[in-house]
């Protein structure tokens, strides 16, 4: 589905991603993990086209993506839930959701009901400004907003940051459901092991801008954790 080869990325003069390779299979749910500052967010941004890559290739279903702007990637079916949510603060919840409608393949005019089933709170908050919502509500809105695009691949950057436990569970359920029932490919950055274990099928461990371990989630053992996730 998505293949990233040899990607390098620099901020100013500092190299963040080093010859990074990553393969994501269709219908998989891959969890990317690593300590703070290893470059997870950077990687996702490169994938989304929000940061230019220095060198390397990104492909989606065989099509090159790295030459294309972010809006093309969104149209091609990548939905992005950024770290820190990035809600449009002065748009209402409804407007935040509507933004994605025009690029849906089915040209729907209304926000799909599904979103409100998944996150009922969004229905209640429909006409409030996105920026006024509490952190957790914003997070739900961000996921909902990405789902409006009807994506093939959903990228989530620490989706549970600041979310109340029952909703964390619910988000997990949603991701599982989307992944298992609708075949949505999911790329997930997550720090909380419990959640990662529950939702992820695959894991990738990052360190210093490289993927250092990759396997099925079942094989994530304490050794690896100690080596790459412990402080």
């Amino acid at each position: 589905m998505i293949s990233i080869q040899n990607v390098n990325q620099l901020y100013g003069g500092t190299r963040i991603l080093w010859d990074l390779d990553l393969e994501i299979e269709e219908g998989s749910c891959t969890c990317i993990m690593g300590r703070n500052g290893v470059g997870k967010t950077t990687l996702l941004k490169c994938l989304m086209g929000l940061l230019p890559v220095e060198s390397g290739q990104i492909q989606m279903q065989g099509q090159p993506l790295h030459t294309r702007p972010a809006e093309y990637r969104a149209k091609a079916g990548i939905g992005y839930v950024p770290q820190g949510r990035d809600i449009f603060p002065l748009l209402t919840v409804e407007e935040n959701l509507r933004i994605g409608l025009p690029i849906r393949k089915d040209k729907a005019k209304e926000i799909p009901e599904k979103i409100f089933e998944l996150f009922p709170v969004l229905g209640d908050m429909m006409h409030r400004r996105g920026g006024d919502l509490s952190g957790g509500q914003q997070q739900q809105l961000a996921i909902g907003r990405a789902l409006v695009l009807d994506p093939k691949v959903l990228i989530l950057d620490e989706p549970n940051e600041g979310i109340q436990p029952n909703i964390v569970k619910q988000i997990g359920d949603v991701i599982l459901k989307l992944n298992e029932e609708e075949g949505l490919t999911v790329i997930l950055v997550e720090q909380k092991l419990g959640f990662a274990r529950r939702v992820g099928k695959e894991f990738r461990l990052m360190e210093k801008g490289r993927i250092v371990a990759a396997d099925r989630m079942d094989n994530l053992n304490d050794d690896l954790i100690r080596q790459y996730l412990a402080v």
Partner: protein
């Protein structure tokens, strides 16, 4: 709107009737020596000649007087023959006044204008008015009587009395009665007569009536008459004051509409997109110059040129805006303050460009006939048509824009892009196109504003400069990012200014308004209609 159109037609009709009555009927030949004299007499000596002409020729002279009034009366140098040269659609026709027939075109070197000055013009107008008392159109008759009000004498009175007998139209009769009463007021020997006249004149807003009453109130030998006049005056003054208030309100609204037009485009480029666009004024200027060029291209259709100029200006300024966005502003995303500098540079370049292409002189933009003049509601209240149209136009543009932003996805997209560009991209919004379109839209509207402003003020390289500060003030006062705020701000500033002006004078009024804005912003640091919520902090 309908009402306006009706008034327009009425005015047009008036104009036409003035020139159309100048039919080419031959003049009695005994006038020839007098005409001859007209060509010879100097400006100061012409009045007796005109009086003699009027006395002898009567109504037949109306066309001659009209031509003379318009400055279209000439004589052939060699023969001293009096001719009229009228121009229509670039076509000159030469008419011999005596015979009333058209003659061969002559070169401008062979003929000489019969000069008129202000004094003669006044005289001619009175004469024409007297002659027009018998006109077929009631409107013409009415205005004829009105224009005679200011100097009534026994002679004129006689003609009015005569005309009154076979007058059928009610409103003309009223005016005639007023004229008669007015005359009676000042010339009747009996105090009771004068009081009666006062009663008749009560409530009239006509300036001449008021002046006469004022004179009577001060100087009449009879105290009763004086009192009556004073009482009548009080009533009149009250009315006048009321209308003066309306007048001022209109002035305020109209100034507001100008501010609104100038600011609306900025409300988009600056308010919504966040680009501090110092070249906004120059976009207005481009629109005004487009109007000028359009008029150059269609010299014979000035009446319609504005309808062409509006879309043309929108396109020209809009394209300029798109170019500016693509070439410069695109590279400055996330650096709003830098846009100030770059656009400031652009504004310098555009100004100089216009100076080089069109010369630094102001260009002449004609007002179409239907935009000139005023809608006379009564003698003390008349609303100038161009302002009225511009007011309507400003509102139209405003609501059209609102509709566009509400109904199309553009509105939503722009706001999304301006709030979080990266995220907007990730949602599949073609940010580049949205930026260009929005900036184009804002600039295009500025262009339209230029068309309107060309009807009010100079079309020159500095046009934009004079509006840029006001525009920013309006947008900020209203609250950045809120179009309604812009609307309210523009009108309130306009009205405040116009109500202050009579009290303080124009300069102090502007200063006070500025100080008021400064103080107001202390109270409401985000303008009249601030963006609310957590994110706005």
């Amino acid at each position: 709107m309908k009402r306006l159109l009706a008034i327009c037609c009425y005015c047009l009709g008036l104009m036409l009737s003035l020139s159309a009555t100048a039919a080419e009927k031959p003049l009695p030949s005994e006038l020839e020596p007098l005409l001859q004299e007209l060509t010879e007499s100097s400006l100061s000596k012409a009045i007796p000649v005109l009086d003699a002409l009027e006395a002898e020729g009567g109504e037949a002279l109306q066309p001659l007087f009209s031509y003379m009034l318009e400055g279209d009366l000439y004589y052939i140098k060699s023969s001293r023959q009096v001719i009229a040269v009228s121009e229509e659609a670039g076509q000159e026709t030469f008419i011999d006044m005596l015979s009333g027939s058209e003659i061969e075109p002559l070169s401008s070197r062979d003929i000489k204008k019969i000069r008129v000055n202000n004094r003669l013009r006044g005289h001619l107008r009175d004469a024409i008015a007297r002659l027009q008392l018998g006109s077929e159109s009631a409107a013409v008759r009415e205005s004829a009587v009105r224009s005679l009000l200011s100097d009534l004498d026994e002679n004129t009175l006689a003609s009015i009395r005569e005309a009154r007998l076979n007058e059928s139209a009610g409103n003309v009769k009223d005016v005639m009665d007023m004229a008669l009463a007015l005359y009676r007021l000042e010339s009747a020997a009996e105090a009771s007569d004068r009081i009666e006249a006062i009663a008749q004149l009560e409530g009239s807003l006509e300036g001449d009536v008021r002046n006469a009453l004022n004179r009577i109130a001060d100087n009449d030998p009879s105290p009763q008459v004086q009192q009556a006049a004073q009482k009548a005056l009080v009533g009149i003054e009250q009315k006048v004051e009321f209308y003066a208030f309306i007048d001022q309100l209109f002035f305020g609204l109209s100034l507001g509409s100008v501010l609104l037009l100038a600011a609306i485009g900025l409300a988009i480029t600056f308010g919504v997109m966040g680009v501090i666009n110092m070249a906004h004024g120059e976009m207005i200027m481009l629109g005004a110059y487009t109007t000028y060029v359009v008029q150059l291209l269609m010299p014979n259709h000035i009446e319609y040129s504005l309808w062409v100029a509006i879309p043309a200006a929108f396109v020209v300024s809009g394209m300029a805006g798109v170019l500016l966005e693509r070439l410069v502003i695109r590279h400055l995303h996330g650096r709003p303050l830098e846009t100030l500098l770059a656009t400031f540079g652009v504004s310098l370049v555009l100004q100089q460009l216009v100076r080089t292409v069109f010369s630094p002189l102001n260009r002449q933009v004609a007002s179409p006939e239907w935009m000139s003049g005023a809608w006379e509601i009564n003698p003390v209240l008349s609303l100038t048509l161009n302002r009225l149209y511009i007011l309507a136009f400003a509102l139209l543009v405003f609501f059209a824009l609102m509709l566009l932003l509400k109904k199309s996805s553009l509105g939503l997209n722009v706001r999304a892009v301006s709030q979080n560009r990266d995220m907007a991209k990730s949602m599949g919004i073609p940010t580049g196109r949205v930026d260009a379109l929005t900036f184009g839209l804002g600039s295009g509207i500025a262009g339209i504003a230029g068309v309107a402003l060309s009807q009010l003020t100079n079309v020159g390289p500095n046009l934009g400069q004079s509006y840029i500060i006001d525009s920013f003030m309006v947008v900020v006062f209203g609250g950045v990012g809120n179009l309604w705020g812009t609307l309210v701000a523009a009108f309130s500033l306009g009205i405040a200014n116009k109500f202050l002006e009579p009290v303080t004078g124009a300069v102090l009024a502007s200063i006070l308004v500025l100080v008021f804005i400064i103080l107001f912003i202390q109270k409401r640091p985000k303008g009249l209609f601030p963006q609310k919520g957590r994110a706005a902090e």
